[in-house]
């Protein structure tokens, strides 16, 4: 374990400052997404037909592929942190590269999915689509922005790892890892909420 990690500890709590800051930020991110989920739940329960139609129109297979991609990239992120903490720069670079690839793959699938929706005449902010699509574009759109935001520092660390000293700060990668796993966590809720849980799934409408 390098001195960098020990020096960054807060003396009273013995938790690294960066880690506390990231968890506080993630708590605020949780509140950000909570607003969407709360509004989603309330409106879904008031508009079963609208949410059933919207959900049935989404491509849940593509979303399932994206779920697998995100879970895989969470694993490679955790492994890249592990290898950097054990001073294995080449393995760190390999697994961070795979994580970036996963993030990129997620966005490619999202592009395919959005293209199909645009082809069907469903655009963000259009008056004639239903409230379901407002949630769909807001929640998946903000989630995709989080993926892009995570890719930027990942790419910086990836390119820094090619310098002869390698990437020197394991705790920064661990902090970024927390953010990346949070992006995965939000998808764990968004995937069933939007794509799978049709208000009439398994049964026919009663009226």
């Amino acid at each position: 374990m390098s001195n960098t990690i020990n020096l960054s500890h807060e003396p009273v709590t013995r938790i690294p400052n960066g880690k506390v800051a990231m968890w506080a930020f993630l708590a605020s991110e949780l509140m950000f997404f909570s607003g969407f989920f709360a509004a989603f739940i309330v409106l879904r329960n008031g508009n079963y037909e609208v949410f059933a139609q919207g959900s049935a129109h989404l491509n849940w297979v593509l979303a399932l592929v994206n779920t697998f991609i995100l879970i895989g990239s969470s694993l490679t992120m955790a492994l890249s942190i592990h290898h950097l903490e054990h001073k294995n720069n080449s393995q760190f670079r390999l697994f961070l590269g795979l994580t970036i690839l996963g993030a990129f793959g997620f966005l490619v699938v999202k592009y395919i999915e959005y293209s199909a929706k645009f082809h069907d005449g469903l655009f963000p902010g259009q008056a004639h689509h239903t409230v379901f699509y407002s949630f769909y574009f807001m929640m998946t759109g903000f989630h995709a922005l989080h993926v892009i935001a995570g890719m930027i520092p990942m790419m910086y660390m990836f390119f820094r790892s090619f310098t002869n000293k390698g990437y020197p700060y394991p705790w920064k990668v661990e902090t970024l890892g927390l953010y990346w796993h949070f992006v995965d966590l939000m998808w764990i809720f968004i995937f069933p909420a939007l794509y799978l849980l049709n208000p009439y799934s398994g049964t026919l409408p009663v009226h």
Binding site: A27, Y48, W60, L75, A78, L178
Partner: protein, 103 residues
């Protein structure tokens, strides 16, 4: 952080658990059928199952991938409190809203 040998198998275990639970989520939502009178419309049973599986996945990720298992108990308290209230909100709002529209 524990030694090199002990961490990677637990990461892989979490990874496999997440894959299995994801498939379970899909199967539960798409293939599991309840009689129409058991909470339709609104489908509170499928929603509850979906939330429970999601919570198990979230706890796996937080405990192992996000290192809470290896972190200070203080940080664990700091993290679990907002997550607990988020889950209470999701679950309670779902159930309350469901019954306010169907009963």
């Amino acid at each position: 952080m524990s030694s090199q040998t002990s961490v990677i198998p637990s990461y892989l275990k979490v990874f496999y658990t997440l894959l299995v639970f994801t498939i379970l989520t899909v199967v539960a939502a798409k293939a599991l059928h309840f009689p129409a009178s058991w909470g339709t419309p609104g489908d509170v049973l499928h929603v509850s199952i979906g939330i429970i599986i999601a919570v198990l996945k979230v706890l796996c990720v937080m405990y192992i991938f996000m290192h809470l298992k290896f972190d200070s108990p203080l940080l664990r308290v700091f993290v679990y409190v907002p997550v607990f209230f988020f889950l209470v909100m999701v679950f309670a709002l779902n159930v309350l809203e469901h019954f306010s529209y169907t009963h």
